[in-house]
Symmetry: C2
């Protein structure tokens, strides 16, 4: 086949123009756009939990030049706050944000990946995750659910709760009606409390009307919006959640489809958002506690008496011994945490604790 | 001017080929490659400081798909450990890694951006940086040097140092020869110590031969490699550096030349590397302390007696009052830190401190 010179000339110019147009486009969209969806256990605006998730998604978007975006669905939208693990497992969502101890009923081994009564403080626990074998154990425990799990933000030490009456003995606890979920609830139930679960929206009224005598929420930063300090004068220091770590869940197969660059962008953004949320919680709690102290000078901070604390420790130990007997994965995680914690606490004792003791 | 049809045809084909070649290249290198250099105050292998810097550079490289790389020069190469601020200011390096209190002689206002005697703990200080106005004050203080400054990793609470003899009174301090740099050195000099500075490589021998009676380094994680525990039996808890934050310095003009994407990649990588180094330090110190306790059971951990601690507090306060009188920027930073710290400490007291007191 032969072309006339005119035809060749025209074809050449058309090709040149087309090629330049394509090149401009290629430069912009060199890579495939990735659009993910994330399901949170939380409602639309539960600061700082939801701030942390938004912070993570924003980092991913900016660092990928808009090529990797994550749409965030609150539980107001997906209507399944405690279905997050299942939705991510099944690939209905690419990722989620929640807390491992919510899966206690489904898989008890996941419980200690959040926090444990008498467990590690936030820096001790982050050290365990990143240098003490915690991350590997977390992936091992989550492997059967086909998801990857990453630290998702820490509340810092949670308070022991708001009490209508002062607790001076183990006897004072008996028959007390308290809202306290999770493992700590089991410990207290064994000490004679009536442990109940009440929907979040009804907590204030339940405490005000005496349907419950006490409740545990988080710490001043998140408690202040709930208003409990207006109706319960005793604020107990914590024992049950010394460093509650939330979690990002990522569908394993979806994660594998990401480029190395996007894998790094996502993991870096999740890790930073987690630390940042810990610090935001610290800040919010100090501001809120200062406000509560000023506006409600009658609030009394108390620590459970030694008799009560010792009984809680003993009960906690007994319960763990029972549960680990038939659950090797739970045992492996708890053994690792307890071994690490024992060593790390010796350092905490001569560093932060010693410093604070002299400067409180 | 007119072209023959043949000439037009040839031109068209050349353009088309050129355009396709360019388009392929554009897709790969859609953006200009950015190659930066970073100068560290540290030598080649000072873990975890140098790990943190390498960690940061690696994140930047992977998240930018290799388009933004940072070459790290240790002080072995640039030969100017304490010239880092000047080199970044002058644009000889795009960025640096160091500690703000090394610029004390040049600009005293920068001192408290690292840590202060009787100052904040690590979570309190990170809260101040990111939520209490600290970042804005840091940029304000560094603006006249034409650099931006970012948190660069925390050592956690540093130990008060290794002492050949036990300190039981203020009298025991008088005439003691100690290596302790910075502001804490001035405090101790005013209490009658002879404060000296000795090159790092000669510290061990100086302590062993009694040229000095005591020295301060960091904490178990970094002290263990120096071997001080083999020759000084008293390890004092800290008061002078409760949360030493290192810093990344970035030349302001160079930072402005970065794309929004690269700005975000760099700032995210620096922020995460800083938190990560804090946690790595925590881990290293607990492992090292456990090792020292095991191998050297005669090491005695001591806290300075109240008389000594009170004198150090008073002297510290007096010195700060003097120095802030003629330095409004220093005063602004210290006022902000002290105001924030007071509030945050109330929260620390009822959370981490209270929890640790019951679980030590």
């Amino acid at each position: 086949m032969k072309f006339s010179k005119k035809a060749l000339s025209t074809l050449g110019i058309i090709l040149a123009v087309a090629a330049f147009l394509v090149s401009a486009d290629l430069a912009n969209a060199a890579e495939k756009k990735v659009k993910w969806k994330l399901a949170m256990t939380w409602g639309t605006n539960l600061s700082p939990f939801t701030d942390g998730v938004a912070n993570m998604a924003k980092m991913v978007e900016t660092m990928s030049d808009g090529n990797f975006t994550i749409r965030i669905d609150s539980s107001n939208k997906h209507k399944s706050p405690f279905g997050v693990l299942d939705m991510v497992k099944l690939g209905q969502y690419d990722m989620g944000h929640s807390a491992s101890y919510y899966w206690k009923g489904k898989d008890l081994a996941l419980l200690p990946l959040t926090t444990m009564p008498f467990g590690m403080t936030a820096p001790e626990q982050y050290s365990w995750f990143y240098h003490g074998g915690g991350m590997a154990l977390m992936q091992k425990a989550y492997a059967k659910h086909n998801v990857l799990s990453f630290p998702g933000g820490n509340t810092g030490a949670q308070m022991g709760g708001w009490f209508a009456k002062e607790i001076n003995s183990l006897e004072d606890l008996k028959g007390l009606k308290m809202r306290i979920p999770g493992f700590a609830g089991e410990v207290l139930a064994n000490l004679g409390l009536t442990v109940t679960n009440i929907a979040v929206g009804e907590l204030y009224m339940a405490l005000e009307r005496g349907t419950i005598d006490a409740l545990e929420w988080v710490g001043p930063g998140m408690d202040i919006k709930m208003g409990f300090h207006k109706i319960a004068p005793y604020y107990y220091t914590g024992w049950h959640e010394p460093a509650t770590e939330l979690q990002f869940l990522v569908n394993q197969k979806k994660f594998n489809t990401l480029s190395d660059k996007n894998k790094k962008i996502l993991t870096v953004a999740m890790k930073l958002a987690a630390y940042d949320m810990y610090i935001q919680n610290y800040h919010m709690s100090s501001v809120a506690w200062s406000q509560i102290e000023k506006d409600f000078p009658n609030i009394k901070v108390r620590t459970f008496p030694k008799e009560v604390m010792d009984a809680m420790k003993a009960e906690n130990k007994k319960l763990l011994a029972e549960k680990t007997q038939t659950n090797p994965m739970l045992k492996e995680i708890l053994d690792s945490q307890q071994g690490y914690s024992k060593q790390a606490r010796e350092w905490t004792k001569i560093s932060d604790y010693s410093y604070l003791r002299d400067n409180i």
